[in-house]
Symmetry: D2
Subunit: 409 residues, 4 copies
């Protein structure tokens, strides 16, 4: 009776600008035609095979260049437009494959963080190079995100960092290692490195610098064998007296805490958005399957219980996306981004992705568990997001800290 | 260390227009200074006392006039602006008191639905009168929202309606009753009546008409004694050969289903928004209390577990509001509103309000259960929203129906 | 086709002993015929009216005597039998009314705790008197349950207690106050008092003593006006140089921590069991209503969504009861009760009661919100249980502490 | 302060009998020493490798024989003892590896179902052979569990079965196929087959028969490649005029519905119990890791948030096990098992396993996602249980049907 409404790609989307529509369409086509076929193949490979010369990964990354997503291009837009456009583009890519979308995004991080620091020279230097964000360390997973020590127990002690930089004359000299969780760490050509500063035998936070990874003293670990986002390599980076000119410095001890704040405020929204893409992919698969699969003599979407569950998936995806967009809008227009907002979008979006992926898998019944169908991979990909860029519990505590008004205690 | 950010009234809000800011401020002041003090008093009264001449209810409603919220005024704005402004205003009112905000909103419904039907004469007729939406019937709670029968069991039968209209010449003649769940039903001067049409001894959906409630043949039930939103009266309306001129007709059988669709698409967003206001009030109370209350020698917001819970309340409120705003934006700009979106915002917002109210109450410990504190009333108010304007389960099934693409089955 | 199974009163109950069956039947009849009619009346009264001489409360308590539930009678059974019998009896009472069941249970607490301490003289002394458990203080809600300080922040400080006892010769002398959250505090004749010991101007935990409340120096606060369990009064007790003979001592500083441990291990299971009774009452109301109420032309239990929700209520009630019984069995047979088990049963049972009460209310639609139906009261009663005898979050942290194996750190 | 309690293997377990303790210890040792090392290896293999002659699977199954778990041995115990013992044994095996425990359990199913049918000849026939339960079909996943059609839509139609049996003289003749979801289907020597009966060209439920799978006319599909429980093979079985003597009949059309009822009532409890073993394994891994892993200068179990989460895992595992045990006790002693109870235990246990596995993985942070650690496999195993032996939603609807009292409608 009531006529069916065919919603836009990104759901309850108010009218897009012409440019937004163009970018969305391009990315969607790329996701559908290029990323999806390859992603299933990469998921089955060992981490080493994924990165071997004959891997289809490289073709995808090459073709992705043609999408024209560049940080310097984005910087020509006003902050609100830029933020919207990046989210619209990246959602389509994540809809195609979370791991490959992650590869494309992390590659842009050094340029993006350079932009956050206002260092246009480094933006230009990083543009077009495969990048990574090097912050997490073997003994300091969560600690590194807690640059101001706000979460440290009164009797706690974060202990010695695993990676430190010294400044000698006009050089930054780096020693130590970043842990296996560095996304893109195995393939990156350039690293946005966040580490402690060593001065007079003591260390403190910290230094942010753009470090090329093809020079002397840099070695890599082997790629991690992990459950989800398998097309996104992760691995250690080791530094042995690696030297970088001071022009590569994005932040020093005076503004390190602030730089981490802005970085996390930016990065968390992107992970949230990636999760929205994953969640939407899972929901759409389930919606389509529920139209095709028959049980009890009719398409299962006609069963009350199935349509009820699909509606809640739809609801969750829309709520997650709505929050991502609103937070990004706020951050792009406020004098200072609200990190608690970024975290809220990340926790909410990734939790949604995990729930929706599991609920969508369930619609497939036994087929949902089969590796012939895309659902179990989506669940593994979504599961990874609850930990990526800070496990949700640590982030929530960090977000909670930002709600404390010191004047009221 | 990291400086505290004092977020705007409505949270992660990108810059408001000057008018929006003015309306928000006015409504907030009214909510804080007028509504809140009275709401606690009304909550303790019997339903009859609430409506007695000496009740403080009347003063609040009178002062609310001065806020200048009128449907005809709103209609001068473009749809997107109008929609945003109404939501911004109503969130503040709901933050003040859910029941009183409900009273103010339902009063506007007849004019608003007249506008949906494009009947400007009736907008003008209703403006300034206390209104109500008369659809629910004793034997047809959920059924009435299912105007197209999409949820009806194959072997089900909605049976005889409790209220019917006949059309005789240029008059609509109404008989029967609407149930005790009509919000504002006891006090309304005018009713947007949705009922079945009786023709040749048979009935079918339906008729929408503006019915003045002060004429002959109309009687009322007594106000319902209920757990939450106690300042919003609900009660039966009985019709005994009530006559209304045809000029009061908003929809007949040809467009009845469509009129219900548009009405619900509009109304659900408003309930969702009201729930956001409630949830925010609960969160803010808990946040303030956590700064004041000490346990174990320090403000409880310093306890890891308390700040963790507060963060999740913040997150849920922001996600609920973000979805309300996005849905409203979509509906205001699309050629046809997406009812599944409106429902999603309602289910999500009211579920959030219930969870956040309960979580916020918990921060107060034993005081949360005491009637001296505002928390237990907020929980009762929030609980009512899970049923108001369609229980969430029925709505979710209705929303699920709208996801079915008939071309794919 | 498949024949319907009429489950026993307490659900999936393996065969009861003859005595258990008798007690269950008696309690059930009392709950149905005496408690339920009165509970609705008491819920509407002010706290003062509840305790006025003409209140029906007194009749219920008097008739409850005839059930023959006495601590000394119970002590003749072996621990496992005793524990089972108390739970079976109390579930029926809580099914009748949570507040009245609470009144009957707290009255037994001083005798029960005397038994825990092995003090049979005090068991006899307390038997037949209305009792209460006096531990919570205005500035020390959670702290009092943390007798060993295990939850104290490193830089925290529980500060000065509000109530202290001195020992002078063969007398215990008590000063200060217990807070408004003492269940039965307004009506109790005897109090199992848990407070700090004052020695040489310093205070430390602590003293447990049986204190008659009709002697000089004892005054009471007025009964608390609260949202749920309204038939169970709560109020402050003030002590001004109240003297008690040393024979009333149940524990001193050497075994105070242990006595609190055993007390909480016992009490938490009883609150859990009370919650199971509430949850079951809510479920049974919803099940019955779903057979009677028609929508869409058939009993709503025939709707897929309604039977689905009812099944999950059934499941939750059964799981909650199963855990209560298993924990009680373990504790009755182990050399030392596992407090983490008692807490698990309490957190699980009360969370279940709140969820099931809300889900059951929802089945009633608008009627669920009306004060004419029992559902909204059940929700308020259940909500109170999430805080009673320790808010669930604090208890969970305490339970978590007990999982730490000091040898492994 | 409060001394740490080292709980028994199966948690809050009241004293076990000597035999129970012996079986539990044996199974635990086998699980730890034999199953766990092999399970990680099998998980990495392709389904074909898992079943290749050199696979370590065969060694495990051979050694499992020495545990002495046989249906005929069990039948010598009284029903309550038998039921308890099987659950205690199987929990330990599932703790070792869910898939291998599944292999051991499904092998016993033909003998067990023969016992349900009171056919001791078939018990003896099946004993010692690898078995499977053949009920699910390509077009009839859920339908097959709905033998009485209670869930069928009024306008639904289950359509033609994929596998049918004819009875000719003293022979049962089978044609068609069972679907890829038959657990153990690739390796079974004997199948408890549940299918439709074909008479006069029409089909109806049904026939239960013990079918040897090494005779003429039986072929198999290749083992399914799936996400979890990978050591438990699943695959199609095809029947081409397979003949079985009438002595192999366990049920015909008169008692087919009842046989399915009893079978599901038995099987669901076993899946629930398997899930409890998985959940416990996940919880124990997380508990151990939280003692070892340091962050912020101390073992993470000292962090408030970590101990809070561990407590809730403990709580959920205990509640899930408590329900399994109670349901089994009820079913073993009642005149007719309560299928709604079995389903409740299955839905509850498997939901718990999934939640606890995910929560436990989260404690490991990034390591939880790595294939070097056991957590991500446990999550995949647990996910499979939400669908195995009936997806939880279908089961819940079936359970809901059993709550309908036909006399009350």
């Amino acid at each position: 009776m009531t006529s069916y409404i065919d919603l836009p790609l990104s759901g309850l989307e108010p009218p897009l600008s012409e440019m937004e529509e163009l970018v969305q369409d391009n990315c969607h086509r790329f996701a559908e035609e290029v990323m999806r076929p390859v992603s299933a193949v990469l998921d089955e490979m060992t981490p080493e095979e994924t990165l071997a010369p004959e891997s289809p990964l490289w073709g995808v990354l090459e073709q992705a260049q043609e999408l024209g997503l560049s940080v310097s291009g984005m910087l020509e837009l006003d902050p609100q437009e830029r933020s919207r456009l990046m989210l619209i583009a990246a959602e389509e890519l994540a809809w195609g494959d979370g791991g490959l979308a992650g590869m494309i995004l992390v590659s842009m991080m050094p340029a993006l963080y350079s932009a956050l620091a206002g260092n246009m020279e480094m933006v230009e230097y990083c543009e077009g190079k495969m990048g990574c964000w090097g912050i997490t360390e073997p003994d300091h997973g969560s600690d590194t995100l807690d640059a101001d020590g706000g979460l440290q127990a009164v009797d706690g002690d974060y202990g010695r960092p695993n990676c430190v930089a010294r400044i000698e004359g006009d050089k930054i000299i780096i020693n130590g290692q970043k842990s296996a969780w560095v996304s893109g760490g195995v393939t990156a050509q350039v690293c946005a490195l966040y580490c402690h500063l060593e001065e007079n035998g003591k260390t403190r936070p910290g230094v942010v610098a753009i470090v090329p990874l093809d020079g002397p003293g840099v070695t890599r670990g082997k790629p991690l064998d992990k459950t989800g986002l398998r097309s996104l390599n992760q691995g250690e980076i080791y530094f042995d007296n690696v030297e970088v000119p001071m022009s590569h410095l994005l932040a020093g001890p005076d503004n390190y805490v602030d730089m981490v704040y802005h970085t996390l405020a930016e990065a968390n929204v992107h992970v949230a958005n990636l999760a929205v893409g994953l969640a939407r992919a899972a929901y759409e698969h389930a919606l389509a399957y529920a139209h095709q699969r028959k049980q009890g003599g009719q398409a299962i979407i006609k069963h009350q219980n199935v349509k009820y569950r699909l509606f809640h998936m739809f609801r969750k995806v829309e709520a997650a996306r709505a929050l991502v967009r609103r937070v990004a809008d706020y951050n792009a227009t406020a004098s200072r981004p609200a990190l608690q907002g970024s975290i809220a979008s990340k926790v909410n979006g990734t939790q949604t992705a995990f729930e929706v992926a599991s609920d969508a898998l369930q619609i497939f019944g036994g087929n949902g568990l089969s590796r012939e169908y895309p659902m179990e991979k989506l669940l593994r990909d979504a599961r990874a997001c609850l930990i990526a860029d800070g496990c949700n519990e640590l982030l929530a505590l960090k977000g909670g800290n930002l709600l404390v008004n010191p004047d009221l205690i």
